[in-house]
Amino acid sequence: MHEDSISALLADALAVVPLRPWPRYELATAAFDAVARAVGDGEREMLALWAESGMVHMAIRPIGETPCVVSTAVIEGRFPSVGRWHAPAIRLERAIHDLYGYVPEGAPDERPWLDHGAWDRSGPLGTRGEAVPRDPADYPMLPVTGEGLHQIPVGPVHAGIIEPGHFRFTANGETVARLEERLGYVHKGIDALTTNAPIDRAGKVVARVSGDSTVAASFAFARAVEAALGLDVPPRASAIRGVMAELERLANHFGDIGAICNDAAFAIVLAHCGIFRERILAVSAAVFAHRLMMDTIVPGGVTTNITTEGARLIGAALDEVAPAFAEIVRLYEDTPSIQDRTCGTGHLPADLAVRFAAGGPVGRASARDFDARRDLAYAPYEGLPFDVPVLTTGDVDARVQVRIREVAASMDLIRMLLAMLPEGPTLVPVPDAAGPCEGVAVTEAFRGDLLVWLRLLPGGKVARCHVRDASWFQWPLLEAAIEGNIVADFPLCNKSFNCSYSGHDL
């Protein structure tokens, strides 16, 4: 472990045994605050920040090493603010405050985040107080002052077939001086639904945190349950999970590449990518009996096997799509009018990507060299050679290019996994927990790293489960990337990030 201030602080703490596979440390308030401060100084990346009854947890990672979780008790309804030192934590602790009523002491932003004043009680998971109904529109946006500025409010209901959220642009003529997001519209109470729930019901909810990442979320949930119980999954099940995860990545990357180009009025790419996406969904339906492969990954393995015929179908779909996609990529790269829109647009500086631990194509297009499949390796990716494309330009084009290369890498991975599909069972029974135990897992969704932490109780129960989608750390960066761009380029930038609303709002 690093010799730094956090290591010294953790040396004094008692590791709490039941979390697997990372250590968890319970710290006194002052020590937790000191860790938060060191995270703010860049000693660690913050992977997640969440609460449960009476306790706040933060997952942190030293680059290149195993992450850990540090926890502190909530005392008299308060815990030390992390956002005070580390900006990426601000929205997370606003969410904790809304869900539990716990006050992050010293927080720089005390506005509510998920609670828009429409819930029937405040702090529904913690303090459970009387709701103080207020007009949802009554929300103080950050002030922007200057000459010639005007505001453009957009949403929550948008013009396209997309999720709801509110964007407030402050523009100077055509140029965006500031974008402020307001999210939380699709908050469905997922943290509450996965508290004290049977494992299979919690799994079904986690699979629906964000429909486009259902495989990645179920994958992380299953691995967290398996880690908590010390359960080994049959190698064939792991390989099938890998195939599904890469199919999901392919379908989404095709969708994203098409949608980005479409927002720059280059609809031909959308038309073709739409067909590629459809091809992948159709083969997923043929092999796994569900186009999005929902509920197929479960603790203990997978519910659907890949038959020889299934493997052949998947291979055939890839053979068909790969050369056609290569042609579309050539078209994208050889057309100055689309390049003119994507190159240099929506630039995200590398230091911000690192500070926010931005995952997925958003981080990798801005030089953050991280992929959970490689850096927090898990089955079936351990030991498999695959390319993790990293670019440095940080613009819309770079985010397209990263996706283009990941399409190729995913196709290679699927072919590799299918070629060496181990024999054996695909599902093993899940034993009951002997006592309370905790597990944590991170999978690489198409959008970036997705973390699931949970605590199990005997009797097949989930005591508490928390899902952290990559979007939490990407949404704030979109605000930074759009600055100085023209308003008309917002859809383009937004699509190039493609953050999840539902995965964030929970």
Binding site: E163, P164, V186, G189, I275, E278
Partner: protein, 178 residues
């Protein structure tokens, strides 16, 4: 670009992939729908999609209606950007408390005659989510629903089929009124 155009000239349309039974069903569904939409609206049915709390899975499949494979526009079904241009609201998700007002306003902004289609197990019931401090309930708890299309998410083909049923129902209603 030139090779692409040349290729497209000689390629078979992707829209009707040959003997696959679902593709055959798609064609049948589409033709039936086209005839009814024409009779009722002359040419088109304008649809406005509203996500009132969905997980986004339903949106993905509604989106697919616009791709070259399902190509719903050839049946006169068109997704529009504003509720003021819409005949039909397709609403997904369990309605969250945070989206209730926005959904009510969208409904109010849609001119009569209008129909509401609740999409997905969430829009029709609450799916896995259920009513809670955060969720008001299914779509019909907030606005009147004319048609429910279940599934988690419903497949694009199911959605097309459902739209036929809606057109049938609205035709019947018009006849009985007239």
């Amino acid at each position: 670009m030139r090779t692409l155009i040349l290729k497209s000239l000689f390629a078979k349309p992707v829209t009707i992939p040959a003997p696959d039974p679902s593709a055959a069903a798609l064609e049948e569904v589409g033709r039936a729908l086209e005839a009814r939409v024409r009779r009722l609206y002359g040419r088109s049915l304008a649809i406005r999609e509203v996500d009132a709390g969905s997980c986004n899975g339903c949106e993905l499949e509604i989106h697919a209606l616009n791709n070259a494979v399902y190509d719903c526009e050839r049946f006169g079904l068109r997704f529009v950007a504003s509720p003021r241009h819409a005949d039909v609201l397709m609403v997904t998700g369990p309605v969250t408390r945070n989206m209730k007002v926005a959904l009510e306003r969208t409904y109010a902004a849609t001119p009569d005659p209008k129909w509401v289609v609740a999409v997905g197990d969430c829009g029709c019931g609450c799916g896995v989510f259920g009513e809670s401090y955060a969720v008001v309930g299914a779509v019909d708890k907030v606005i009147p629903v004319d048609l429910s299309l279940r599934g988690c998410p419903p497949r694009p083909l199911d959605l097309l089929q459902g739209l036929i049923a809606l057109v049938d129902k609205t035709t019947a209603r018009q006849r009985s009124a007239g």
